[in-house]
Every structure is written in C-alpha cells, then in structure tokens.
C-alpha cells in the first residue's frame, strides 16, 4: 500500500475502518479530548505605551507624532506606520473628540460580563489626533449614535486611576454640533509615504 494520491479516495485511517481489540468493541469511543492551556507571562508595554499608560493616571491622553508627516497616532506604538520611522515626540491630545465609526453589539461577550448589550463600540478620534482607537460610547441610546458625534471621555473617579487605558470608562456626547466628515481621512493616500 503506497501513499494515496487520489484526493477522491478517502484514506483508510480516516474512513472509520480502524480495528480495535475485541474488548473495546462495545464501549463508547473517545472522539475528543480537552487539552486546555493557560500560559502566564509578564507583559511589558515598551517605551511609548508606558508613557501613554503613565499619562492615563493623570487623565491625560498621549499620542505619537510621526517625525515625517506630523500625524498623531493614539494609542502610541513607538512607530509611525506612514513613514515606518521610530517616533521620537509624544504629544497630548484632548479628552474630547468625535466618532469616526461605530457598531452596536447585541450579543454578550463571555470575557466582558460588565458589558450589557446593546452597547456601542466606536472608533473615537480625540481632538489633536489623526488616528484614534476603539472605545465604548455610552450616555446615549445606541440608535442615536452617529458618525461625526462629538464625545468626551468619562474618567474613573480620581482615587481609582491607575496606569491603564481602562481609566476611561467610556465616551459620552458633549452636545456640540456634529463634525462633518466631508473627506474620509484615509491613511495611506499617495504622497503620505516617506
């Protein structure tokens, strides 16, 4: 019996033709096995994210500035994807901004029992940043959230602040007029590079 090269012919081992000792003929066969793994690490965030997390403790939001294009990225990663350069300057952006896009989640997530559906996840761009990040938007009916909505950060109480992005509980509407997005700010337009 050589290697089976005809893809239409199922190999014998996969077709259930495996023979077992007679003593096992009548027992319920094992068909799956649980092999859970939990691997523990100590995470270190790196220079840029460390500065960002430390500023969070003071209710400040820091971004990375691209040394070539001047674009500001939040949260900072220490590199500008537009120029590929290591960023060297961090700037503070506002804790108010606008919703660039959003979705409404209507199913619960096992790992976040604190989130009660329906809730809104939005791409929030803080004033002063060119690229924002995903955040929760609350204090408004999900159906009323819209692109361009002005929002401000709702921070944890001062005595609960730590080096964590979770210091911002969510963003809520400011009541200001919506931002008009007449031009999609697409990163990567010709001319952005290098």
């Amino acid at each position: 019996m050589g290697y089976n090269q005809d893809p239409n012919v199922q190999p014998a081992a996969l077709s259930g033709e495996v023979t077992m000792p007679a003593a096992l003929a009548e027992v319920e066969p094992v068909q799956s096995v649980r092999t859970p793994a939990a691997i523990e690490y100590i995470a270190t965030p790196g220079a840029s994210l460390s500065a960002y997390l430390r500023a969070m403790k003071d209710k400040k939001i820091l971004g990375d500035k691209c040394p070539v294009t001047g674009q500001v990225f939040v949260p900072p990663r220490g590199v500008s994807p537009v120029s590929g350069q290591r960023t060297t300057e961090m700037v503070e952006v506002a804790d108010a901004g606008y919703v660039e896009s959003f979705n409404i989640t209507r199913l619960p997530i096992k790992s976040r029992p604190d989130l009660n559906p329906p809730y809104v996840s939005a791409w929030v761009v803080p004033d002063g940043a060119n690229v924002g990040s995903i955040s929760l938007v609350a204090g408004i009916e999900p159906e009323d959230v819209r692109i361009g909505l002005r929002v401000r950060a709702v921070w944890k109480p001062d005595d609960e602040l730590e080096e964590s992005a979770a210091n911002i509980l969510h963003w809520e509407p400011t009541g200001e007029p919506d931002v008009v997005l007449d031009d999609l700010r697409v990163i990567g337009k010709p001319g952005d590079a290098q």
């Binding site: 019996m1 050589g2 290697y3 089976n4 190999p11 014998a12 081992a13 996969l14 259930g16 033709e17 495996v18 023979t19 077992m20 000792p21 003593a23 096992l24 027992v27 319920e28 066969p29 094992v30 068909q31 799956s32 096995v33 649980r34 092999t35 859970p36 793994a37 939990a38 691997i39 523990e40 690490y41 100590i42 995470a43 270190t44 965030p45 460390s50 997390l53 430390r54 730590e162 080096e163 964590s164």
Partner: protein, 152 residues
C-alpha cells in the same frame, strides 16, 4: 494590577488561555478509549512492528495504520531525565523522571513520568510498570505515571 517596579518598567501579569477541545479521529481516539478502559494500544505496521502511542500514518512508508492492538503495561526505559520540581502545568504533583518507555509488545517508546525517589534510582534499561489514575476520561494523563517494576 499594573506595577511600576524599581527599574521604572511597567509590568502586568498576562495569562493566555486556550480552552482547546480537540477531535481525535479513530486512531488517536482509539488509543484514548483504550486508556479510559485501562488498556494501552499501539498501531501495527506492515512489517509487524507496533507504534505506541499509535499514529494514523506510518512515519516511514506513509501507509495508513488501521490495526490497533493491545500492548503490555510494563516496559523498558530507553532514556530519561530528572524533573526535580514539577512545573506549573504538569499533571504531576511530586518530583519525577521524564522517560521514554518502550512498552512490552511495542517497538517505539512513549514519553511519560516515572516516580522514584531521585535520579540515582533511574537508569536506562530499567523496567517500569504503568500506574492508572482511578478516574479516567480518555486522556494521556489517565496514566498517572510509571514506577519501577519491582515496586508495582
């Protein structure tokens, strides 16, 4: 949760969990069924030798292996090392030796733990016997481990 340690570096514990449940197919499933029922199975190759634990395909000829046969529950250590301190995830609660063990009636060795007092009690070629867990579910750790044959 986040810690700024003496060297000024932020550190946070991170646990990645994978709740894997794997389907077995008839060969691996057959072996695990055997374990649950207190039997060890190997796969018979075309030349009559037996691979234990069994594989779906012969690693040399690629032939499908479809005949599972019972092998013995004692065997011979072909190599070993000493695991002084059981590591976090290991299903062993005491110091033990890792050993490759060729069970009687099998022609290839399998990896498992051997319980002895210390590395001086281990040697290549020593005879060991399998010890079952009382509650078995069809898992490689249904084998609690091995002990020297005379102690079993």
């Amino acid at each position: 949760m986040v810690e700024s340690t003496s060297d000024g570096v932020l550190r946070a514990p991170l646990t990645l969990e994978y709740p894997f449940t794997r389907t077995t197919g008839p060969v691996v499933g057959g072996f695990l069924t055997g374990l649950r029922e207190g039997m060890v199975l190997g796969a018979k190759r075309a030349d009559g030798t037996v691979l234990c634990p069994p594989l779906e395909y012969d690693p040399i000829s690629s032939d499908p292996l479809t005949e599972l046969v019972e092998v013995g529950q004692s065997g011979t250590v072909t190599t070993w090392t000493w695991n002084g301190e059981p590591r976090a995830q290991q299903p062993f609660d005491q110091p033990f030796a890792w050993a490759m063990i060729t069970l009687d009636g099998a022609d290839t060795p399998m990896l498992h733990g051997v319980f002895v007092d210390g590395p001086e009690a281990m040697s290549t070629g020593m005879r060991v016997s399998l010890q079952w867990k009382e509650e078995r579910e069809g898992h490689i750790a249904d084998i609690a481990g091995f002990v020297p044959e005379e102690a079993s």
